[in-house]
């Protein structure tokens, strides 16, 4: 699960393969975050984990770790 999640984040945020992803980072502070990245994030969660995340719920999540925990508990 964790590995799938990390791969999904690399895809959604278009993170270079050589770059490390610190799960403690607030994803909205990631250099690649913008309104289009939000679309990619929503799409990849639906694609990989069959989860459509409610807007209200997404607002309460801050770090990549929060996202991982959210989908793990689904």
């Amino acid at each position: 699960m964790k590995e799938n999640f990390i791969n999904a984040m690399y895809e959604a945020f278009e993170i270079e393969a050589t770059e490390e992803l610190d799960l403690g980072t607030e994803f909205r502070n990631h250099d690649n975050w913008d309104s289009l990245t939000k679309l990619s994030l929503i799409a990849v969660l639906d694609d990989e984990f069959d989860i459509i995340i409610e807007d209200d719920k997404l607002e309460t999540l801050n770090t990549f770790k929060d996202l991982l925990e959210f989908i793990s508990n689904k």
């Binding site: 289009l36 939000k38 679309l39 929503i42 799409a43 639906d46 409610e54 807007d55």
Partner: protein, 352 residues
């Protein structure tokens, strides 16, 4: 969520008119950094759009499309009993633009004419109204016009919307014939999501004033617009569509007892390439069955589905089963499975 069936009604001809004025997205504004613009263009897939110059309205585009349709198909104007104009950029607040078009097109005073104010779902909704009238005894032909100058709604300094929208107008003819196979529609609305895509001012809730015309910074990214300009919360719109659209398409397929493999073409509202590709991928559709025109015209709201038909399917609409799906501002969304016996597609015309 009404599910509707029509028998023996069909689209027999379609045409489109676009402004000649072409905007290349990469060169559109200098309000944003080159890299930002390139990323938006890459992700949305919108390379060019057509912008109507000041003197041209959506009804002008529809007028030219309608004249082309009438000429190409030798339509007897006296047989057009109903004229429907779908648009959210009408000529005036009153009277309805459809009535002005009745006169301008030289249609008889016996013509029923009215406007429909819907956005991206508007063509599919408009079709149901056209089919409804065509279904009545006493009606020979229905002329459905659908035009938008969406370029005027959004502010060039709001990067969430500045690079997406374009203008166009279409005309199509709906008639009854015994040999036409049935068509099926699903219509939907969710007004609780009205704030996802909206123009706040200029209507009667928030009338135009000096204040509504003031430019202001609207978010932490420094985007600028006035209350008279449209805004769109793209992420939340996408989220909403992911939830509703595949479901609605499945419902209309089930309801019409159509196997997804028997659909010849899937015509989605052209919002952006990301959305088109996502829907295609999710529904595992063959790329050749999903015509796109987004890269050339951008998002033309209700016009995007018929404009894609005219741009991509000329000469191909003989005994075809089409799935249409329009979705957007409202939120309002509509899907249809329509059987086309033969639909004549005119060449697109450019208007100066």
């Amino acid at each position: 969520m009404p599910k509707i069936t029509y028998n023996n009604i069909g689209i027999t001809a379609i045409s489109a008119a676009i402004p000649k004025n072409t905007i290349k997205n990469l060169e559109y504004t200098n309000h944003f950094d080159e890299n930002v613009v390139k990323e938006i263009v890459d992700k949305t897939g919108i390379k060019e759009r057509r912008f109507a110059p000041d003197h041209l309205t959506s009804s002008d585009l529809c007028y030219h499309a309608a004249e082309k349709l009438i000429l190409d198909n030798a339509i007897d104007k006296t047989e057009i009993d109903v004229l429907i104009f779908v648009s959210q950029t009408p000529d005036y607040r009153m009277p309805a633009t459809s009535i002005i078009l009745q006169d301008r097109l030289g249609l008889s005073k016996d013509t029923a004419a009215f406007d429909v104010s819907l956005g991206c779902s508007g063509f599919v909704y408009g079709l149901t109204m056209a089919y409804n009238y065509a279904n009545l005894s006493g009606i020979k032909k229905v002329l459905l016009l659908d035009g938008e100058t969406r370029s005027r709604i959004y502010h060039p300094k709001d990067r969430k919307t500045a690079f997406l929208f374009g203008d166009g107008g279409i005309a199509c003819l709906i008639e009854k014939k015994d040999s036409f196979l049935p068509s099926f529609f699903s219509l939907n609305s969710d007004g609780s999501k009205q704030n996802l895509i909206k123009v706040d001012a200029g209507g009667y809730r928030n009338p135009s004033s000096i204040n509504t015309m003031k430019e202001k910074v609207v978010d932490i990214h420094g985007n600028v617009r006035t209350d008279e300009h449209g805004y769109m919360n793209g992420g939340d719109v996408f989220n909403f569509l992911l939830r509703e659209i595949p479901k609605d398409i499945k419902q209309v397929l089930d309801f019409s007892d159509t196997n997804i493999n028997d659909i010849d073409y899937f015509l989605f509202h052209q919002a952006n390439k990301f959305m088109n590709d996502y829907l295609s991928k999710k529904m595992k559709l063959d790329k050749d069955k999903v015509p796109q025109s987004i890269s050339k015209y951008g998002n033309t709201s209700s016009v995007s589905i018929p404009l894609t038909i005219v741009d991509q399917l000329k000469g191909l609409l003989k005994k075809k089963n089409l799935l249409l799906c329009g979705f957007g501002v409202g939120m309002s969304w509509a899907s249809a499975v329509i059987n086309v016996e033969e639909c004549k597609v005119s060449d697109i015309i450019e208007v100066e």
